[in-house]
């Protein structure tokens, strides 16, 4: 009965030839690339190869960017009709679609995520975000935010490394649609697609200074947050830094939106569609290497089906392909940085120490680069650190519950409130659970689904405000955003 050869997939590498990475980059200020003074390397986390030297923006650079953004706002962008602003955004969307493959390859090289994800998820969603928001630019009076909503001015935007281009789209598109200009800082470890985006702005003939991109590290971010010439701060990142920002802007008049961490409960009821549920669990925590703020990192299994689900989950995990992100058949890629890998290893060790039972499928991990095998911890309870703290890696904590009420209590028993998952074939239970859960995004019989029309954001310590949809516009318009 045995075959004499298993069906091994030969390497199916995507070609790198489509991207041209410069050996050194500066900043994008006032519509032009300007040289930086200090530089640091950005690497490919799958190979540790240095991809390029990136500029570290200091005070002068940030000042120049804010000045350019202010000038563009005052003299051009705020004077332009929504109709014309929208057309620039449409151009950007269309060019992103045209250069989609280039963006996907670059994203994978810089971030470590599988090329299939960049190609099929990140880049198409990013382009869609621009397309959607382009259509709002001349329809703001219909957004339910007043008959004549006004932009805030200059927005300072700081984005994370887990979905670099997509997070850029989530920030830049609504800001521009609403009439603001921006100074954006991509994450330290993933600046390349943002710098390519600057080229797209040039190709779209976006007026100089409407979008400015400064690269750097935490110090650059602090300069932006504290800059008096900025009217609004938008930040996506850890809750810890989110709190620092909240304190920093407290004495100012700056508006702030924050999109922070999570420890989402993924709740599986006994009447869940089992095979699709297992897919959803895997997708919920191993998609994007678990570097997802809304990851389903706490699996809450109804005790009566726990054994069956775990058995199927483990079998399914055996089939996860971890490896070269540039291979089209890779499911899970590299951990984004040495630092993040260290955190994941540390917290996993905590899980062991706390008495949870660790399990991973056998995984051949490459010798170079940063890698962590998909891992589950069973026997976890609410009192475990690994049930409480965000690991931000491919590590799933598995807990059980007896009744729907208990599931909700456990799910809500966290300072976070970004997302949650519900698996059940009973509609009334799904709706009941979604009503009870204190989370900003709830997925039923699915997970990690994003759309420009669908507002995203958290309750409690998962942040302030929403991105996407009509609700997401509120962050960038006067009178209805937080003051």
């Amino acid at each position: 009965m045995e075959t004499d050869m298993t069906f091994e997939y030969a390497p199916a590498p995507e070609s790198r030839a489509i991207v041209t990475i410069k050996p050194k980059y500066g900043h994008f200020i006032g519509g032009k690339f300007v040289p930086g003074s200090k530089h640091f390397p950005t690497i490919n986390p799958a190979t540790e190869e240095v991809l390029s030297q990136i500029a570290l923006a200091g005070k002068a650079d940030v000042d120049a960017a804010v000045k350019a953004a202010r000038k563009a706002y005052t003299s051009t962008w705020s004077k332009m009709s929504g109709k014309e602003r929208g057309k620039y955004l449409y151009r950007i969307a269309r060019i992103m679609q045209e250069r989609a493959r280039e963006f996907a390859v670059l994203e994978t090289l810089d971030n470590g995520k599988p090329i299939r994800e960049s190609r099929d998820t990140d880049i198409p969603l990013a382009a869609a975000h621009f397309f959607y928001h382009a259509g709002w630019a001349d329809k703001l009076e219909y957004a339910g935010l007043g008959t004549s909503p006004k932009p805030l001015g200059v927005a300072g935007q700081i984005i994370p490394w887990n979905f670099p281009l997509l997070m850029l789209a989530w920030k830049v598109a609504p800001a521009l649609a609403a009439g603001n200009t921006v100074v954006l800082k991509p994450a330290e470890s993933t600046p390349l697609t943002a710098l390519l985006f600057a080229e797209v702005c040039q190709q779209a003939e976006l007026p100089a200074g409407v979008v400015n991109i400064v690269t750097g590290d935490g110090s650059t971010g602090a300069l932006i947050v504290n800059h008096p010439g900025i009217d609004k701060i938008a930040f996506t990142g850890s809750t810890e830094v989110g709190k620092i920002i909240a304190r920093a802007v407290a004495p100012t008049k700056k508006s702030v939106t924050l999109e922070l961490g999570g420890k989402a409960a993924n709740i599986v009821f006994d009447d869940a569609p089992i095979d699709e549920t297992v897919e959803g669990i895997v997708n919920g925590i191993f998609f994007n290497q678990g570097h997802v703020c809304c990851a389903g990192s706490r699996l809450l299994l109804q005790e009566s089906v726990a054994e069956e689900v775990l058995h199927k989950l483990k079998n399914r995990m055996e089939k996860i392909r971890v490896g070269d992100p540039m291979d089209k058949n890779t499911d899970v890629g590299a951990i984004n940085s040495k630092e993040q890998l260290a955190k994941i290893i540390e917290l996993s060790a905590v899980g062991d120490a706390e008495g949870a039972e660790r399990w991973s499928p056998a995984c051949e991990l490459p010798s170079k680069g940063f890698w962590f095998a998909p891992t589950i911890f069973t026997g976890v309870t609410q009192a475990h650190r690994i049930a409480r703290e965000e690991i931000f890696g491919p590590v799933l904590s598995v807990l059980t519950f007896r009744t729907p009420q208990e599931a909700i209590e456990k799910a809500n028993n966290t300072p976070f409130g970004l997302s949650a998952g519900i698996w059940s074939e009973k509609g009334s239970r799904t709706l009941w659970a979604s009503q009870q859960l204190r989370a900003g995004v709830i997925w039923a019989n699915t997970f990690n689904k994003f759309d420009p029309t669908s507002p995203f954001g958290g309750y409690k310590e998962s942040g302030w405000g929403r991105e996407g949809g009509r609700h997401g516009l509120a962050a960038y318009l006067k009178g209805v955003s937080h003051e």
Partner: protein, 280 residues
């Protein structure tokens, strides 16, 4: 001066993504503002209308099920194609209506921008026209706006291009399919516009364009039992009563407009409200 004889265009109907002649064989003369002959567009027959309705009905399911994003991209593509051919449209409007070049440019520009405006509505109308409703009971209650189906429309006599765009775009934005009767005196822009549609990835049958006599076609449209709604913006007010009476046979929704307005989108949508209990 060249002695080259130019190749004049034959203007045909646009039905189901193709360009057939009218099955009746009838045509009429279109002359330019100076009274010089330009073309013999078709006088569409009742059978042509019937074929168009069949095509529109068949196309409705797919167009309606397409994502709003997809419909938006197609509408935007129509704008791209129109922008690329603006010179031809300007020339045609000047030739047929005698308008000045400046006025014609303005009309073509507005038509392109109007398409872009509607392209941006496809994925927003549901957020505005839909709702979740806080009923007094343990029910999740939501209202979704949905396209109606097949809409027939009479485009205004003038402006011949912008009026047509203002007619078609709001109808198809939400997923309806349409059969539109172009301006009688100035039908050529509509038929050239059909060529733009044919190169925009618009599925066959979503838009069908007829030319001919308003009075007879309007009445056939009003009495056709497989048409769900009518836009009679292009019909003079005094004719409305008869059309509404004829349309009552299958309770067509019949509307008329004077300008662009997102209300034109929702007018051709139905509101569906769903109740679902909330409970363990």
């Amino acid at each position: 001066m060249s002695n080259r004889i130019d190749v004049k265009k034959t203007y045909k109907l646009f039905i189901n993504g193709a360009f057939p002649r009218t099955e009746s064989g009838r045509t009429y003369e279109v002359k330019n503002a100076k009274g010089v002959f330009i073309a013999n567009p078709c006088l569409a027959s009742r059978k042509d209308l019937r074929e168009a309705v069949v095509a529109a009905r068949a196309a409705h399911n797919g167009w309606n099920k397409a994502t709003a994003y997809n419909r938006g991209q197609i509408l935007y593509r129509i704008a791209e194609m129109l922008e690329g051919r603006r010179a031809q449209f300007v020339e045609e409007i000047v030739a047929v209506t005698g308008a000045t070049k400046v006025k014609a440019e303005k009309e073509v520009t507005e038509s392109i921008d109007r398409l872009v405006w509607y392209a941006g509505w496809t994925d927003k109308i549901a957020s505005l026209a839909g709702s979740t409703n806080p009923v007094a009971g343990p029910f999740y209650n939501f209202t979704i706006p949905e396209s109606m189906g097949v809409v027939a429309a009479i485009a205004p006599e003038s402006p011949s291009l912008l009026g047509l765009v203002d007619c078609i775009a709001p109808i198809i934005t939400s997923g309806n399919t349409v059969i539109v009767l172009a301006s009688t005196k100035a039908p050529l822009s509509a038929l050239t516009f059909a060529e733009v549609l044919a190169t925009s990835d618009l599925p066959a049958g979503v838009v069908n364009i007829l030319t001919g006599k308003k009075d007879e076609i309007a009445l056939w449209m009003a009495s056709h039992m497989d048409i769900d709604a009518l836009d009679i913006s292009g019909l003079p007010s005094k004719k409305h009563a008869d059309i509404k009476a004829a349309g009552a046979e299958n309770l067509k929704r019949i509307y008329s407009y004077k300008s662009a307005d997102p209300g034109r989108i929702t007018a051709f949508m139905e509101a569906k409200t769903v109740w679902h209990p909330i409970g363990v």
